[in-house]
């Protein structure tokens, strides 16, 4: 069986969130032909959910800020297992990428002197997040989408990639199906950029949409690319916990940036009880100082609610486990209290946090200007992903590039809020630029018909089994259960070994899934196809997490609760072996140049 249609591009981009769109713009501007494939409609990618802002050291609100401070903050947040070069490029280039958005029509909130306004965020020393209320992601994606509209990029919406095809070890093309009719489409390309986002759907409680099934991670892995840092998952401390149907949906860190505080059922601000030593010099000594910080007082230090996400998530987890949680198993996040401090607090909250107000009012029947919210940790982001060259974003497969969440290295063990949107535009641009360069000198690759036929046959197998096969939703649900319970915020060896066993079982069940009906917009079938990706990333997460026998950033081991120096010198890589099994191995960290080391030391004060 052959593909219904074939297309050929110089550069093919998979994913139309911030990174994919920014890559498309750069590649199109370089004068090559560009195709863009996305799983949803254009403009619906998960980037729209980003709320707080994008981090860039423009120093508009505090002139002490510079790329060096941003770099040092990012490395500290990542617990020094970041790829230093990625962190350096990111900190240096983010300001230009943000300004460029303004030239393309983005309308950021302003400072009193008319420049782009920047807000405080966890782990960032100075106010650094360019933002638009609490809907910065929507502004980013719409700006890039509208700009792309006029560049001659061909967009294939609602197409899902099921196989990455190589030619002599180089990226050659992909096989995809369209959701509308279920027809297969073959794309050949001289260079391919993966910009597929995250893996949140491997967990039960997640802020991610249905699209976050680790497609890029899994496609690259199955094609033989290296993944790194797969044990590092960010559990965002504040997701909604009630009602059940919205469990996991994000409550922006911006709430805490604007003065919101965390309290347990006893009314205590528990974050003051546990401040890590390396953050003590920068953390407020009492609530009053913390409040002044959120109101822009440059002499004040930040409140402990704005410590890094991994730490805040664990503190919340501890309160809930100790029986000091809220009625629905979270803790209280209170922004309404600021009425003690400012007049017209209600108007202020609605102006600063309009979507949060709206989200709680409509989904939970709760007015955040009057009552505290209930929040708890939610699977939000994966630091791990495809290993890339820091300058070019090329993966370990020639001609295959990756950018955004599916690429790895910049965030180390934990990502700072706000560094994701800036990551998308800094490295989306670089991926597009170098992919275009690669395409210009590249030759037209050959796509092997046999491989295409096999992939088509395999993906149609669920129809042959029909309703008698395993229910794909059930397998997905059981996998999510397992990852949530056994490879979640707090991990131990025995539980993760159990998870590995169960994952093998899910893999076997996934080979028996079946679905009825026809191929047009068949969600059951789509779930069958996505399952394979989820299982691959789940296994990579669990196996890497077993190997890291220490606690660092987003990875917390109950059986090894401390950070260990020996684990600070390498990353864990994950690769598929010839027999199809997964191997996890150590990749030594590149030494940090002395001048950057000095920057880090200076900022430790």
């Amino acid at each position: 069986m052959a593909a219904h249609a074939t297309y050929s591009y110089d550069v093919l981009i998979i994913g139309a969130g911030g990174a994919g769109l920014r890559a498309a713009i750069e590649a199109a501007n370089a004068g090559v032909s560009v195709g863009l494939i996305c799983k949803s409609l254009l403009g619906k990618a998960h980037t729209v959910m980003a709320e707080g802002g994008m981090a860039a050291a423009m120093a508009h609100n505090d002139d002490r800020d510079s790329w060096k401070v941003h770099f040092a903050d990012t490395m500290r947040g990542g617990q020094y297992v970041n790829n230093w070069r990625l962190a350096e490029i990111h900190a240096r280039e983010a300001p230009d990428r943000v300004r460029e958005l303004e030239a393309w029509g983005a309308v950021f909130d302003r400072t009193p002197d008319g420049r782009i306004n920047q807000r405080n965020f966890g782990g960032h020393r100075y106010p650094r997040l360019a933002h638009v209320g609490d809907r910065t992601g929507l502004e980013l994606i719409r700006t890039l989408q509208d700009h792309t509209t006029y560049l001659g990029v061909t967009v294939h919406m609602e197409h899902t990639v099921i196989e990455l095809i190589l030619d002599g070890g180089r990226a050659a093309g992909v096989l995809a199906y369209d959701r509308e009719r279920g027809r297969f489409h073959l794309f050949s390309a001289k260079a391919i950029v993966l910009a597929t986002g995250g893996v949140g759907r491997a967990y039960q409680i997640t802020s991610n949409s249905w699209e976050g099934t680790g497609d890029g991670h899994a496609l690259a892995y199955r094609a033989g690319a290296e993944l790194i840092d797969m044990e590092f998952i960010q559990f965002h401390p504040t997701g909604m916990v009630w009602p059940p149907s919205v469990k996991g949906i994000l409550v922006t860190e911006g709430v805490r940036g604007e003065g919101g505080v965390l309290r347990n059922s006893e009314g205590k601000r528990f974050m003051f009880d546990d401040i890590p030593d390396n953050y003590k010099p920068q953390t407020a000594s009492d609530p009053e100082e913390g409040w002044r910080y959120t109101q822009g007082d440059k002499t004040a230090r930040r409140p402990p609610e704005l410590l890094t996400r991994d730490h805040v998530a664990r503190c919340i987890n501890r309160e809930v486990k100790a029986g000091r949680g809220s009625p629905h198993g979270g803790v209280f996040l209170d922004i309404a209290w600021i009425k003690e401090k400012i007049s017209d607090a209600e108007g202020h909250i609605k102006r600063k946090l309009p979507s949060m107000y709206h989200q709680f009012k409509e989904l939970a029947d709760l007015d955040i200007t009057r009552e505290p919210m209930e929040v708890g940790p939610t699977t939000h982001y994966i630091m791990g992903g495809i290993r890339v060259n820091a300058d070019t974003q090329e993966s370990t497969i020639p001609g295959l590039f990756a950018a955004g969440e599916c690429a790895a290295g910049i965030n180390g063990a934990n990502r700072l809020g706000g560094n994701s949107l800036s990551d998308l535009i800094v490295f989306g641009k670089r991926a597009g630029e170098y992919a275009a360069q690669h395409a210009k000198k590249g030759v037209v690759p050959k796509v092997d018909d046999g491989a295409v036929d096999r992939a088509i046959k395999a993906s149609l197998a669920p129809f042959d089994r029909g309703g008698r096969g395993e229910n794909p939703y059930k397998v997905q649900h059981d996998l999510q259960d397992t990852m949530q319970a056994l490879v979640g915020i707090v991990r131990t060896e025995s539980e993760m070994q159990e998870a590995i066993k169960r994952i093998a079982g899910f893999r076997e069940r996934a080979s028996r899934v079946g679905v009825d009906g026809h191929r047009e917009f068949n969600a059951g079938w789509h779930t069958c196809v996505d399952l394979r990706n989820l299982i691959d990333v789940a296994e990579a997460i669990a196996r890497s997490a077993i190997e890291r026998k220490e606690s660092r950033g987003g990875h917390f081991r109950e059986d090894f609760p401390d950070k260990k120096d020996e684990f600070a010198t390498f990353n864990f890589g994950t690769k598929r072996q010839a027999d199809g099994s997964m191997t996890v191995y150590r990749i030594p960290l590149a030494p940090i140049p002395p001048e950057l080391k000095q920057v880090i030391e200076e900022q430790k004060q």
Binding site: L41, G43, V48, M49, D146, P243, V515, D516, H518
Partner: protein, 247 residues
């Protein structure tokens, strides 16, 4: 646990279709999209619907619930009469693909035909601009749009009269207004609004404003000011006279 019945539009290949009833268990805080997902997982795995964020931010799950254009993810069951089956059907202004999924590609084509953002030269030597917050408040209101196309769905010029080839609809009047009122933009869209986009077809019934999940004042803040600009330019006697004299 209580139960509720949902009457969901199911289509056949070729275009025919009918409402089919599904009864499911419901729980606290559920929204219509949860109900559709439950039906999908338990009774009809091939039921087609679009969704992404589940929090009213992406604008994917637009549908008509009991005849009213709404986002399924923001329609709580406790705000709906459950003593009757809840009717869930696709947006009727766009061609049907399957079940609850419609072909909204017309919207993307319309946007392509509109003039793009064209900023003035930078204000500062470093290539940046200065804008005051009060000058962008209105534009930011328009830029809240999540492109759910519910306003297009309910607009009678499109829905009842099918003027898709002559009329761009509320979404793109909001889009045009965001550009026209953008402090940095230098292009002129007023002639297009009159001649090509036919803003005159809109007789300000405000249906679009009523269904907007982002509560954008589409009619009052976008369409009426644009209509005024068209009137000032083309119909104001003093301006016409001045134009005749000035050429």
């Amino acid at each position: 646990m209580s139960q509720a019945t949902f009457s969901v539009w199911r289509s056949e290949p070729g275009g025919a279709g009918a409402f089919k009833d599904y009864t499911i268990e419901i729980s606290d805080g559920m929204v219509v999209l949860d109900a559709v997902h439950k039906i999908q997982a338990e009774q009809a795995p091939d039921l087609a619907c679009r969704w992404n964020c589940k929090a009213g931010k992406c604008g994917s799950c637009s549908a008509e619930i009991n005849g009213k254009p709404r986002l399924m993810c923001m329609s709580r069951l406790n705000s709906i009469d459950l003593t009757q089956p809840v009717k869930v059907e696709p947006m009727r202004t766009f061609p049907l693909i399957k079940d609850l999924v419609t072909d909204v590609s017309w919207n993307f084509r319309v946007k392509k035909g509109l003039k793009k953002f064209k900023p003035r030269a930078a204000d500062a030597a470093d290539g940046t601009w200065r804008m005051q917050q009060r000058d962008i408040d209105r534009v930011q209101e328009f830029r809240k749009c999540i492109e759910c196309f519910l306003c297009q769905d309910v607009c009678h010029v499109l829905r009842d009269h099918g003027k898709h080839e002559e009329f761009i609809g509320p979404r793109f009047f909001v889009y045009s207004a965001a550009l026209e009122m953008h402090p940095l933009d230098t292009d002129d869209r007023v002639p297009d609004l009159k001649q090509k986009d036919n803003i005159g077809y809109c007789n300000i019934t405000k249906c679009c404003t009523k269904v907007c999940p982002e509560h954008i004042h589409i009619t009052d803040n976008a369409i009426i000011p644009l209509k005024e600009r068209v009137v000032d330019r083309f119909y104001d006697p003093v301006t016409r006279l001045l134009r005749m004299i000035g050429g």
